[in-house]
Symmetry: D2
């Protein structure tokens, strides 16, 4: 991923040194497990553990010849070991393992780490959303369906909806973390020809992984696709939140605005021109993450015990998507934390509906008074129509309507138009969600 | 979905009558919950319950005017009710509900049913795979990576890998069943303005659903996308199994063949022309299901409290994908049950590698004898090269090699080339997987 | 595709009878071409031409046995022919052809027809857009970038942008029509083993098709994917136009509204609730069409001389996408024709920017007066800031600014804020586009 | 894109310095066009032309403050200019332009260059394929449908099919080159408020670009998506060719093998283990390119006169896809040039069909002899069945069949089984394709 959309925290986890380090960790764990059986001195394994990178450049050099990255890394490690007097380690390094045993097991470790970071990201984001929802628990605004005013809601409830979706995505991410933490040492075609299931279990346990029940040469790729499913849903969630802010920020709505740097330009000549560029960017990034979803799914159907067509997809899609999502979550958390919210404008927009957002409540009250639904409808409709035509006020029109006056007291009418009645359940919901 | 790829069992669940029936179930459950409060006689609710479809045609007729399907259904129901003397039900039908309360709650019920069927499909498929794996637990064949012979495996182990992937997908499907079983009655913008959370809980419980913690006008669409994630992974699994069979059936491999009808034509003149058309078809269908994955993800970011752009996607993608997957699983279960497997050909192909598939075992045995890895490599390589060049036999060549003769006894050499050594772990793995 | 989104004009082109009819047309054209050589009497060919469908049911019945649709159709045709005394036709029917020769050639004819219809659809849509653009060539409104007011534009220019995009898509569709009009009769693996290139050329010419230069058993599938590329871009164009209308129709903007049926409901109680449901629907349908893009691309890489994995994708994706696009274009043409446009509201929204939309013009004029860009910026910015802070009027503020007064005459200031200056080029552009 | 899949030739075109250089080229072309009118000395423009990068680091630094890359670049350029005494250029730099005028016009130049390189790549690839096809014009092998032996073909004809597809893709690429070469200087919302259409035309002509007929703030994104359509189809073509080679190289087929480096490892112990890793990699890369297709299509529907959601997609998708495709074409050209082809193995595999691949020819000859199709079928079928059952030879069986002996002379039978008859048309086709 290009630096513009990368945070070093995540990008670092995908660096070649991280990867080579993890591959060596797998080799070490394996040597430790066979040490007793193969009489490998603990001192020698310590020697292996003590060798240090960077490996990337040397490996790349060797790979030019062998066209095989695991072979190249082993050569580099062996070269470094020669100076350390560790003949037994050299003899038994990678003994009985196939490259994929090391690669896929290291990948599991690596993916688990990136998911750990995304889990932290979501927690941070959830906190920012929760604070926002709490601050505006009772900030009334108009709820909109189809972009058209519908009924009153509060900005806190809107944000609470994000909160709930964010929590669902956190749960998905945690499940993905479990789904990916599987390793395998079952050899070239998964038959445990050279490493027993028991030995595999021992090595993987040390690494914090579960053995794959049945592998081919590789970990089955539906695991990877399952993990990607959690990543892409997280991106879509951020897209939804960002889309909302873009709408709220448009000139005619003006109910919220994403944070704006002090020296930020482009708008210097047009002070109203505070563009929701961060949120627009988040929408674009979600598209990119969605794009990799299908390639990752195409990777599932490898040929026979494996082909290597999936490798290039994974070298690009997983770093790209996790780096982007990490960036998105951090960017969005920042937006949520420092979002400018304009309650007066929210109030004004709500009022612009002339009270018609209370029409369903009116209808239901009339039905409760014993009116049939069609009769109640007629009353509501004719008053609504008049209100809209004359740009007057729905409550006033109802108050003037003879039929309504007969059925409803002033107090009952007030009750219909009182936001407090909407507020009661909202508060209850926010409490249940842990926001209030 | 076109009839060619539809089974009536699943297609029926998506029919309009099923849908309208579920919508009425939601209305009934709601009326029952408010019956006491609104004094609706039990008799009247029974009257509602007694009305019968078909509704589709009448609804379509009404919808032409109102351009609103829920409104149209309510009109049709009310018309039918008029003959039944149920004034209270007519008065309170849909009272305080918004269309989406009914639609999305009914959708949850509908989707749950389709997932129940897919769960059954997977169970059936798993059983067929298990039997296949069991039958061929010890049928040796060559394992292939990159399409090239690698090491021996058994066909049972291969099928066991499918078994494990199938079980993972069954688990995903069960989780999806849970993920979708959420309803909502929280009204036009999710504020519970007209229906309280407690009432919602009561109604949904009766329907076997959980209340959505925070909804907008609609159930948040990440649930739907989450469900789709399970569907698409299932399709990719079938694609993987089908791809394997296509490979095994090709003329030069000939190790297996999908079942072939007695009168099946096209091949009449060329008896060798038994084409794996069922499995090819399964691969194509997986593509179709993958295709809908992104639209469903694009549905997550609805505008404000909802727009209706998602509706058309859902009207097509969910019936299509579930109908196709149901078809795929049933077709594949049939293929697995009646797959023709040719053990002699498997044996022949394995032998065609001239014993070279045992080269890693040879290498490791030489290392165990104290040889350094490079020295061991040299021995293996020169004998392998000679074997390949002269199309002779690897074991024979090794047996003739002076250096090998010094290091390995005849018995040790036999041991290297004995499939039984590979078989031990395979049996263990198959037992753990519940196949043996 | 479900009836809800199907017009009979397009759906009919995909019906089985249409398809079988085209396949028989191919067989007839072939028989005519070999008639002289094989001594097939013209009368017999006329007999073949005179047989009539419906075929679908009978073919389906036969297909149950043979599992091969071409074989089944030939059987049905032969049965019908038996009553017609046409022994030579029966003898030479399908002589030397492979099923795909007939299928793919018929597909080319079928696809060409669907594209012809889409070409008509685009022409109709272009006309509707042109009329709209013409009507509002000089209807001023605010142009928006990032959803924020930017500079004045006219609604006619906006629609002219649609016009230009529509024309590009029409051109793509015409090119797609050419791209798909290729047939092949080169046999089982494209070697012309039984039919010569010259004979193929003669038959295809009669059908209005070009011979594929090199086919396998089938027409190469990049042609199909190329055609799909035109379809999906058309859908995205409609999505863009529909998205614009959704924005213009939202409560706070209110500049346009899609047509609304007289009896249309849902809004009965809330007269402001005219929801842009047609345009939202168009956006959803575009997602569906995008979804099939990748499966169609996956179809390109068939195995060897062909496998049949593409078939199921094509049976679904092409009917679905063309039926949906036909529906979309007709729906959008209707929206464009009967779009409600509210010029006063456009004017009001434009005015709400307090004249700041003229800030760049101010800046440039000051630079022309010899000011450096930074100095000019300062002047514009301080006046813009004051205007925005005090919700006053930019022109008035500039008029009060000492420095501005020194540099600009009242007339020059008037000139800056005169929409006519923007209008001149707009008219010129619209003329060039053929709108004025 | 990661270095592993990048060639410097293409990666360089996407580097920031290239981009900034092109942006300055646009500014220069504009200044030249207004020089006379605004009295900007030629000397000053030369001064601007003489300033040199690198810009990237300085721009990034400035961008941190302004969050706007064009503004940042202009600041850097202005700073450099200050030392050059070019006050008029400083005054009129970017005069009347909006950022997107420069960005999108520069993008057109940049994209055109990348397409030029891809056009060269395709030409090189076409040449390699042509040579391959020519070398093996008459190398007989079995053609396969559904992975099953069908009829004889030649490897040259197979490669000629690639050739034809490659040429179609070259044509698409050339059309994409035209489609993208559009610039715009029509300002903030495309109204030509500050730059006239005539001036725009003059500037763009100098840059080798055509003016966009109607732009918003930006070039309409269907152009970009159209270009992407050509890129993704090219990738799918390479995937198809690579898939073929993977199949031909599998152990049981062994008809071709991708080039293999001298020191290439992994196979040291198993000389038969020459894995088609290059071609597998090409298949994976095609998936990646397909993945970006949908995001690029989602970019079409920008909001109003533009939002910036498309930008992040384009910053990633276009470099990624063009870099990958450039890599793929070069890699595939290398594979095609140095592909190992094994004619003897092709001959052997062809022979393994026992002559049954000539069954259709037999059938047609019998029909020509006056037999009805069913009668001819019977004869072919019974002989084919016997051949297959007894693993004998189809020609021999036919020669022994009484009924056949009556109908066909030995010479006629020889004729049926003579590959030369297939070869005639093949040669003709290859000539027409420009291969022979």
């Amino acid at each position: 991923m290009i630096p513009r959309y990368s945070r070093p925290e995540m990008a670092g986890l995908w660096g070649p040194e991280t990867r080579f380090g993890l591959m060596i960790d797998v080799e070490i764990a394996f040597l430790e497990a066979i040490a007793k059986d193969k009489k490998i001195p603990a001192r020698e394994i310590r020697a292996l553990r003590s060798i240090k990178g960077p490996y990337a450049e040397a490996v790349l050099e060797k790979e030019k010849k062998s066209a095989h990255d695991v072979v190249a890394l082993l050569q580099v490690v062996t070269d470094k070991l020669k100076r350390k007097k560790a003949p037994k380690v050299i003899q038994y390094l990678h003994y009985g393992l196939t490259s994929s045993d090391v690669l896929d097991t290291a990948s599991a470790l690596q993916m688990a780490r990136t998911l750990d970071l995304l889990i932290e990201d979501w927690k941070k984001t959830i906190k920012a959303i929760r604070n926002l929802a709490r601050r505006h628990a009772h900030t009334w605004m108009v709820g909109r369906t189809h972009g058209i005013h519908a009924e009153p809601t509060t900005f806190g409830l809107k944000a609470a909806g994000w909160h709930a979706e964010a929590k669902r995505n956190l749960a998905r991410m945690i499940r993905a973390r479990e789904e990916c933490a599987y390793g395998k040492l079952s050899g070239a075609v998964g038959t445990y020809a050279h490493v027993s299931p028991a030995l595999e279990r021992r090595v993987l346990k040390k690494l914090g992984l579960t053995p794959e029940s049945i592998a081919t040469q590789v970990i089955p790729r539906d695991r990877y696709a399952g993990v990607y499913g959690a990543i892409v849903l997280s991106a879509c969630a951020v897209e939804r939140f960002a889309t909302e802010i873009r709408h709220l920020q448009r000139s005619e709505v003006g109910e919220a605005a994403e944070p704006f740097g002090k020296g930020q330009k482009g708008s210097s000549a047009m002070p109203h021109k505070r563009n929701p560029v961060l949120c627009e960017n988040l929408c674009g990034l979600a598209r990119l993450i969605r794009g990799h979803a299908v390639p990752v799914l195409e990777n599932v159907a490898l040929w026979h015990e494996r082909d290597i067509s999936h490798s290039s997809v994974e070298r690009v899609a997983f770093p790209d998507a996790t780096i982007l999502l990490d960036f998105m979550l951090n960017r969005f958390a920042g937006v949520a934390e420092r979002l400018d919210v304009f309650p007066e404008r929210m109030k004004k927009n709500l009022d612009d509906s002339l009270g018609l957002v209370f029409s369903q409540k009116t209808l239901l009250t009339l039905i409760d008074k014993g009116l049939g639904r069609p009769a109640a409808y007629d009353i509501v409709q004719r008053n609504a129509m008049r209100t809209w035509r004359e740009r007057s006020d729905f409550k006033t029109e109802l108050g003037r309507d003879e039929e309504v006056r007969e059925l409803l007291s002033v107090r009952e009418l007030d009750h219909i138009f009182d936001l407090k009645n909407y507020g009661k359940s909202v508060a209850q919901v926010l409490k249940k969600e842990g926001i209030l």
